[in-house]
């Protein structure tokens, strides 16, 4: 399991993020839904955006601190249009 703070720090270590929202889907601390907004997503398709998040969270995913991850990713412009 992992804490929201650890998720945010780990992401921010390799990805410029302007917003990260975490939701613990089961209360067990290992099934997470994340909303991530990053300027690095600008001009990229969702596949590429998700790949960037998966890459940034590679370690906690590999060692199973995160067992399941559901992602919603947005560039700042997309967040303006589709967010909230």
């Amino acid at each position: 399991m992992i804490t929201p703070e650890e998720i945010k720090t780990t992401l921010a270590a390799t990805l410029p993020v302007s917003l990260v929202e975490t939701q613990d889907l089961t209360g067990g601390g290992d099934h997470w839904q994340l909303i991530v907004v990053s300027p690095a997503f600008e001009g990229k398709g969702l596949i590429e955006q998700h790949r960037l998040v998966n890459e940034a969270l590679k370690e906690p995913l590999a060692d199973q601190r995160i067992h399941a991850l559901s992602l919603k990713t947005f560039s700042p412009a997309q967040w303006e249009k589709f967010g909230s």
């Binding site: 969702l46 596949i47 998700h50 790949r51 998966n54 559901s70 992602l71 919603k72 589709f82």
Partner: protein, 107 residues
Amino acid sequence: MADEVLSKIDEKIKNNKVMLYMKGTPDFPQCGFSAHTVEILKAYNVPFATEDVLADPVVRDGIKRYSNWPTIPQVYIDGKFVGGCDIMHELHERGELEPLLKSAFGK
């Protein structure tokens, strides 16, 4: 030899406008994410082909290598990897799936 499976996958993806690799079948999905992905595709009334990765561990592993994507289901439209359940859901909600399908079937 191991990569015979990659050519087999490649062929299916090229021969079907919409190809879904899933767990189970559209009528009997074996995983909630696969079930949801089928529901989304059905909403557009377009034909789609599926393959059950639970029936063949070589395909199950192969499709992950093919796309370099760790999870199943995986949807391919017009020969291109589009995403799994999350991305399909998101594209559906954003209204971006319909133009993708239209352009695939318009050809």
